[in-house]
């Protein structure tokens, strides 16, 4: 596949790894923010190929995992309303909320359908004019513009029975919140490639400027990640901290202007509730007043009741980079991909699922 295979060349990869071994002298800790990077790093065995000086840590960049139970409960409550079709990306189905999951709600006979794209949900609304079609809007800046586009399409086509439960979250503000918490000392951040395809690299400037931390945007193929780590090591060794892009074919410093425009047209910045971190101001998106009629929370009466967490699940501290799945007593014994207790085991990209599937490969 073009733009994929070229970045999987193992000969080049070996040489880059040699180079990183050669250049890395200081013990450092790097966080890959995005769970897609965590999966790629594990899948290609990158952790065990790196020198002992480099410790890699997984961050909070899994949109499903960071969705708070109270928000999951809202989605499940919506599913129980009459004349409603819930549409969602597949991974959301099995995520347990406080008392139930969308999958259980579906088994109880509620109409819940998996879609590949927000556009599919718009078409479903068009085809079912007597029902309300509600899309569970989770995701970061990669996904939010697609939801914005779907709302604008619904508006243009006069579709009035399309709604979203808006749970979108923003990456730079949560990076700042994590750094301010100061629980984990970091020397560099592997910034998310496809979030950055939309927002560009400028929004990360505060990371080197205010925190003196290295910052490189990475793609998802092994050579992309190794190039990113090489650049991070170089910044740290020379103590010249800046924002660089190791994924220039996909990311421009200014991002995608059209996507940002559509996002800004439909959404405004507001608070968001992050699992393990709590409510963080200005770290999420909500629909602007003009688009309120598409807002499921404003148009349906939902009362999910009090929320609670699965006992013993430490997803929250894993998402903050404070713990790893190996610190969870339930990992692998009581909690498995077949019987997940927390979202980090459900999502294909969750840390617990990734450790479960690839853990053995790095000698854990």
């Amino acid at each position: 596949m073009k733009f994929v295979n070229e970045y999987r060349d193992s000969e080049l990869g070996k040489k880059l790894i040699d180079r990183i071994h050669h250049h890395s002298t200081k013990p450092i800790r790097l966080m890959e923010f995005c769970s897609g990077h965590t999966v790629a790093i594990f899948k290609h065995g990158i952790r065990q190929l790196l020198p002992q000086t480099i410790e890699m840590l997984s961050g909070p960049g899994c949109p499903i995992c960071v969705t708070a139970n109270i928000d999951l409960d809202k989605a499940i409550a919506l599913a129980h309303l009459p004349n409603v079709i819930i549409t969602t990306f597949g991974d959301m189905l099995r995520v347990p909320g406080s008392h139930s999951s969308l999958q259980l709600a579906k088994a109880e006979g509620n109409d819940i359908r998996i879609v590949y794209s927000a556009q599919d949900a718009v078409y479903m609304a068009k085809d079912n004019p007597d029902k309300s079609v509600i899309f569970i809007g989770i995701g970061f800046e990669t996904t939010a513009p697609t939801i914005a586009a779907s709302i604008l399409q619904a508006e243009e086509e006069g579709i009035n029975n399309y709604h979203i439960l808006c749970l979108h979250k923003l990456c730079p503000p949560i990076m700042k919140a994590l750094l301010d918490l100061g629980e984990v000392r970091l020397n560099g951040i592997v910034c998310p490639g496809h979030v950055s395809a939309i927002i560009g690299s400028y929004p990360y400037q505060f990371i080197p400027d205010d925190y003196g931390i290295a910052c490189v945007v990475s793609g998802f193929e092994p050579l992309d990640i190794l190039l990113c780590i090489d650049m991070l090591v170089n910044q740290i060794e020379t103590e010249q901290y800046k924002v660089e892009i190791a994924y220039r074919r996909g990311v421009k410093p200014e991002g995608n202007k059209q996507a940002k425009l559509l996002m800004d047209t439909v959404f405004e910045v507001g608070e968001a509730n992050w699992r393990g971190i709590g409510v963080v101001p200005l770290s999420g998106l909500r629909l602007r007043k003009r688009y309120e009629r598409f807002d499921a929370e404003k148009n349906f009466d939902i009362n999910p009741g009090p929320s609670s967490e699965a006992k013993g699940c430490i997803c929250g501290s894993i998402l903050r980079g404070v713990s790893t799945p190996l610190d969870c007593k339930l990992f692998r014994h009581n909690c498995t991909p077949e019987h997940p207790l927390g979202p980090c085991m459900v999502s294909a990209e969750g840390s617990c699922a990734t450790y479960y599937h690839y853990g053995a490969s790095y000698g854990e």
């Binding site: 596949m1 073009k2 733009f3 994929v4 070229e6 080049l12 040489k15 880059l16 040699d18 180079r19 050669h22 995005c34 769970s35 897609g36 960049g61 899994c62 949109p63 499903i64 990306f89 991974d91 590949y116 794209s117 927000a118 556009q119 599919d120 989770i138 995701g139 970061f140 990669t142 996904t143 513009p145 697609t146 586009a149 604008l152 399409q153 998310p192 490639g193 496809h194 979030v195 395809a197 939309i198 998802f220 050579l223 190039l227 090489d230 190791a246 994924y247 220039r248 074919r249 996909g250 990311v251 421009k252 995608n256 059209q258 996507a259 559509l262 999502s347 990209e349």
Partner: protein, 72 residues
């Protein structure tokens, strides 16, 4: 969840395009990438082209990778 894969744009009709991934054809929205042309590669995420892949930059990165791997 922020997965996006390279797709070749085969034809364009308004806001929609037909793209090819590994020999498989599918529909994609190009609402976020109105500048896209037939023959371009896009990053496809949940049915939407979220960016046009910059082929010159791809070549540049490849040269950089080769250079870096020469100098240890």
């Amino acid at each position: 969840m922020c997965l996006a894969i390279p797709a070749l744009v085969k034809s364009i009709d308004g806001h929609q395009a037909e793209v090819e991934i590994d020999g498989v054809t599918r529909q994609a929205s190009i609402q976020l990438t109105p500048e896209v042309k037939v023959g371009d590669y896009v990053l496809l995420h949940t049915g939407y082209a979220i960016n046009v892949i910059d082929q010159a930059e791809a070549e540049g990165t490849h040269m950089l990778l080769r250079e870096l791997s020469e100098v240890c």
